[in-house]
Symmetry: C2
Subunit: 248 residues, 2 copies
């Protein structure tokens, strides 16, 4: 497999840094090729903005969709965007490694979607979901959280983790990717957990790394999360009236 | 009321721009005071990054939480962050105006949370949710989407809008805000909808504006979305075993 790890953390000596190193090492030792997009280290510009488009289709009113399509068709995509698309096209598996900040990925990673997944290039009205450009590839989110696992149960204090991951999973699925259940490292806080003993915290960090290493070795055989698709929807994009899910 | 509108769109002549102008105008004419954070126009830096912290508590390993708390306690917060906090503290109502990009707010708005909602200042372990710093204030998201409303039904083509809004609502609630149901302007695409007549599209835009204007006038009497709170959770942050929701 060709693997692309999109790594999003400002500190190389973080647990996120360690988990990306473990993924690179483990997958390489399994005979896979690993490429890393280190968004912070590479100084990726995560803000979709008129400044990225030199030859605008509409120089008066800026529409991201219009300019993305124009730049793609004109082969004038910004260099960083073109590079990320190339990396994605080469990959069989996409790993997103990031900490959960404010109930979602950091702005740096959100902006990677905003800028790289260009309209007219990475998707169009008819080229989405199970007809998407990245069809046949798979993706997995590897996420660290501050709060412990219990708090991420439905209506728990940290929010339902299944619902927190839903928008990002939708975005991956939108591109045609099949999505594996996320790798969740709960209870990680900057500098250690106040409510745990230091030794217990270190043990927790170690088991987090061990779990990831073990899972990476069996990732190829895993099943992906089922999503609805074109065959399920009517013209308006709704589940058809005769669809079983509609009556649940 | 004092109202803070956080406006997130790169193009002033967009529908988002028009909706923010309508909100400012309508609320002002009702006797409220309106302040606007125009993130793109003000060049807000949305990326949490070591470069924002001149006097680090830990100069070796960067932890956002550690440095946020340190900068807050030291009164060394970056100027833009300090300004946004001041704006928030003055506001009784927070309006977030943005387009739905990749199943969530643009990176620019996500990063407003990442940077402005500093640990140790805007929240702490004990000062969150219904004991949060912004308790007593209310918030509403005003969102434009490309896809039509039907596609945002559960398992619909655009994703379930209730679940797409959930993480952002969690973040608002985390700060102590009470959250009003969002104002959703569906079916807006850059440059018009390919599948609608131009005149029908213009009518759609007009009714979107009229709806917002009308709703703004009655916002003060509206009920907020119920969330679970400290009284519902056990020590681990789970719904207690005797909590009714637990058995649903």
């Amino acid at each position: 497999m060709d693997v692309l790890i999109v790594h999003c953390h400002p500190e190389p000596h973080s647990l996120n840094g360690a988990l990306t190193a473990i993924a690179a090492e483990t997958l390489t030792s399994q005979g896979h090729r690993v490429e890393i997009s280190d968004l912070y280290a590479e100084g990726f510009d995560a803000i979709e903005h008129p400044c990225h488009y030199r030859n605008r289709q509409d120089s008066q009113v800026f529409s991201a969709l219009t300019e993305q399509r124009h730049a793609f068709e004109d082969r004038q995509l910004p260099d960083d965007v073109a590079r990320e698309i190339q990396r994605l096209e080469q990959a069989d598996l996409l790993v997103l490694q990031f900490p959960l900040w404010w109930h979602g990925p950091p702005a740096m990673l959100k902006g990677w979607f905003d800028r790289v997944m260009v309209y007219g290039g990475m998707y169009s009205g008819s080229r989405r979901y199970d007809r998407g450009r990245l069809k046949g590839k798979r993706a997995i989110c590897a996420v660290t959280t501050g709060s412990p696992a219990e708090a991420f149960e439905p209506a728990g204090r940290a929010g339902d983790i299944v619902r927190l991951m839903y928008p990002l999973h939708c975005s991956l699925y939108y591109l045609g990717l099949e999505v594996l259940p996320p790798q969740l490292a709960f209870g990680i806080q900057g500098g250690g957990l106040a409510y745990q003993e230091e030794t217990a915290f270190r043990r927790h960090l170690e088991s987090t790394k061990t779990d990831w290493r073990a899972r990476l070795k069996s990732l190829e055989g895993e099943s992906t999360i089922p999503f609805s698709g074109w065959d399920d929807w009517d013209e308006q994009g709704r589940l058809g009236l005769r669809h079983p899910l509609r009556w649940r």
